[in-house]
Symmetry: C2
Subunit: 577 residues, 2 copies
Amino acid sequence: MKILRINMGAAGGPKVSEEPMGQYDGLGGRALTSTIVAKEVPPLCHPLGEDNKLVIAPGLLSGTPAAISGRVSVGCKSPLTGGIKEANSGGQPSQVLAMLGYGAIVLEGKPKDNTLYKVFISKDGVKVSPDNSLRMLGNYDLVEKMKKEYGDKIACISVGQAGEMKMSAASVAFTDMELRPTRHAGRGGVGAVMGAKGVKVIVVSDAGAERRTPKNPEKFREANKKFTEGLKKHPVTGEGLPAYGTNVLTNVINEAGAYPTKNFMWGRFDTCQKISGETQAQTETARGGLATHGCHRGCVIQCSGIFVDKDGHYVTKQPEYETVWALGGNCCIDDLDVIAQLDRLCDDIGLDTIEMGATIGVAMEAGLAKFGDGQASINLLKEVGKGTPIGRILGNGAAVTGKVLGVERVPVVKGQALPAYDPRGIQGIGVTYATSTQGADHTAGYAVATNIMKVGGYVDPLKPEGQVELSRNLQIATAAIDSTGMCLFIAFAVMDQPETFQALIDLLNGFYGWNLTADDVTALGKKILKTEREFNLQAGLTAKQDRLPDFFKKEALSPHNLTFKVRDEELDQVFNW
Amino acid sequence: MKILRINMGAAGGPKVSEEPMGQYDGLGGRALTSTIVAKEVPPLCHPLGEDNKLVIAPGLLSGTPAAISGRVSVGCKSPLTGGIKEANSGGQPSQVLAMLGYGAIVLEGKPKDNTLYKVFISKDGVKVSPDNSLRMLGNYDLVEKMKKEYGDKIACISVGQAGEMKMSAASVAFTDMELRPTRHAGRGGVGAVMGAKGVKVIVVSDAGAERRTPKNPEKFREANKKFTEGLKKHPVTGEGLPAYGTNVLTNVINEAGAYPTKNFMWGRFDTCQKISGETQAQTETARGGLATHGCHRGCVIQCSGIFVDKDGHYVTKQPEYETVWALGGNCCIDDLDVIAQLDRLCDDIGLDTIEMGATIGVAMEAGLAKFGDGQASINLLKEVGKGTPIGRILGNGAAVTGKVLGVERVPVVKGQALPAYDPRGIQGIGVTYATSTQGADHTAGYAVATNIMKVGGYVDPLKPEGQVELSRNLQIATAAIDSTGMCLFIAFAVMDQPETFQALIDLLNGFYGWNLTADDVTALGKKILKTEREFNLQAGLTAKQDRLPDFFKKEALSPHNLTFKVRDEELDQVFNW
């Protein structure tokens, strides 16, 4: 494996260089992006400036025959949080990049002028070309254009209008198996950093590329079999997710009284069954879409789907639970067709659906639109794509929108919007939101699993006790998993089934010829978190930023009438291990 | 003296209470506002929330016969910087408040609904009344309305539309001797906090109020005489400021190559003589305005003036140097009439002229208007007053505007815009900008005096050596002076003339019967800074925020072709005394 560097600020135009993994050898995914960012990016640099870098890294097992190993990590200093960022995504590019032998792509520097570039990577090398005809294309049109130019044996990594305009809610899009830009490294404004580098799209071709071969093929094959079996037999990864997708959670979280409704005003949404995973799957199937589908080759969970309109025409991939919540329940919108259009718009413009849903909720609280008004939400998102003043406000996320519109109840930590689980109804996830190096992020330590689904044990979601330890352990495990290229959903099976965890370790050992133990995995997770924390400290983020907004401590959430109860001093113990 | 508290969030409507100074006895101005904020405001609270407080405090010598003692301090947690804030202002209210016996007004809590209130304070007591007819009035119309209602023996403390809309660049306006809202506690968004409290205006009446009487009248009278003589004989306070106002600096700073032009791109502005203090005074005199005028009763420097249009009609008070720079040179505008209109708009809408000039500069860099386009600037300010989306962006200051518009070169520290002195051409002021508890603020430690005017010694402005010590000493002295109610301009005479410094101390001792020494004054300054630093630390601001933006360290400024040279480790020594 090697590292590809593209210096967009080089005199005379972009300069491509390749180098061995060197000091970064043995790292992948989040471990690699965070280590490179921590070592190479000055923590106080401007996120949109020449000193920031955008690192795109496949996981350790991406490009191999390992099941469900196609996650990619995107790292940089975040324009949204001001701290370190790793946002990850499914889709095809991770597999292709790894098969082409790239451990990471590092975009560096900044073009002197406004020229927009495309990058083409194949087994024959790397080409960076100016192409201003791509300016202000949405991701869908862009990918169509790339298909015409390079054929359909490609995968694309791109930014929409939001990234070009350097908005802090801008995502980096990754194409799925159907070559649609539906998978996103959504959070933290990574798309703005790609936009600031002047790179509109990276096209990767797998023509002639081959799967990576394990050091110990037999061990690897055996581990892969056990691992796949483990995923199939766990009720979450083997049944719930395939049948209904992540949106299976709508009824679950609503029932738990932790479904943030009307900009985190209430814990239940009366009409949520209209947008539940069950209704969604039924609708998709009835209309001729797909309720069970993978986002990348090699996926054995198949939690995605294809959402089609009443006439059976493709609208967007099956919107995820967090998207349905953000653009749905949080804005009191209970129409799946409206939510699908909003999801499509976010994918096309290149926006984080969680950030945008929270942002529209704040805008609704400011009176910019009425809660429940789907058409108004669609119009607002279109403004973002056009870059009008109101669009630019919203496109920079909930914190900026709250500030500009003078709203006090803004659900963010470190400037990043809270996802679809109210920390008053699920106290464990509140600890993760508050303390994660990433800003509010459910995936950083998904305490919901243990608080609600009783995976990996049980900690009462309504009590502060035990939440710090739970979040700590999950944050450590997640950092490690985010480095493998494995989809985070493997965690359900890995946490409940020791043999599936062992199979994961054996996959790594079989592929690389390592002798990792479970302790090594924990040590890796800790090391990543420590690296990220240190970057954040140097960037000026302290324990004072490891806090939920005031109103979670002051306003009791119905139906449990609880505030967030974990004390500040306890939060400060999360990283004392 | 006593403290007036108005709890705007009390059940059943605003609740007024008065209490003795108690633990705050012996404090005034900035010492009092910062101490109350530090003791009573939770550092992590939302600046627009119920837990923030707005403290308005006359200086220790306000309301006495002491010359030039009418400055008032406004303190709170700043919506702009997220740290502690004291913004101070001239005008009449400080004298009146002190004569009425108020050491401070503290606005607390937050109304449950959107009702707007007015407060009337006279010797007969305090009345708080709802008055929604004041909604969205500019400060000029508002004051006219108050005159009709309460007569003209009043002074007003108010917010314009910007404060009502809780914009982070909103000021608190204080009326001058002509009962015009021309004096502003401008910086840090103090007006947004007043707006969040639902208070549109505080009207103070001096009918029947008497000047405060000194403990030792003879000593006080003698000290006042010497103090006044000292101000009269110093060339800055006795000649330069009365003749040309603060705008005397335009030519001086431009000549020094430290006049930030075109959003801090260059150090000189070719046509700056068109907007210099000399031209301004000449214009005012020729048109029948006034080139020499005080902002409050008892001022012996008279650095202000009255700016009239070509037909001799009042436009605004004489715009200050920093205003002329911000809305002029920084935006490449060299038309005094345009600048006067912009100044008038800022006063009327209730906006900090420095923040708005820097913001328009950033907007021009983003391409929203052309540099030099005065009419476009006027239009943009009008948008702010109307609260349109673009107006709301701009009204929240340069940092938000830069973020929303995707601009990298944003001249702010801790979110607050840099004033009219480029830190590359005057390195000492750069140390103050970077390290002040207030965000970028020239008044917090005016190194320009020593770097350029050779007041209080000389430190070469172009070299890093000696700047930290200079800024440290000035920040300490300033914190103390800001507590007296004395105009900061006394510092020129106080720094150069030991007998004038002694006269200042004798004024305090004569009035209060104290036995302060020069060391006590220094100790007071240090204590204030320490209090403010500690608040900021608890609010999450660390040494990492004590930094200038990257581009001051990277882009050399013409004509000296210098970057900012004071190293980070040196900056971190400012508060190690």
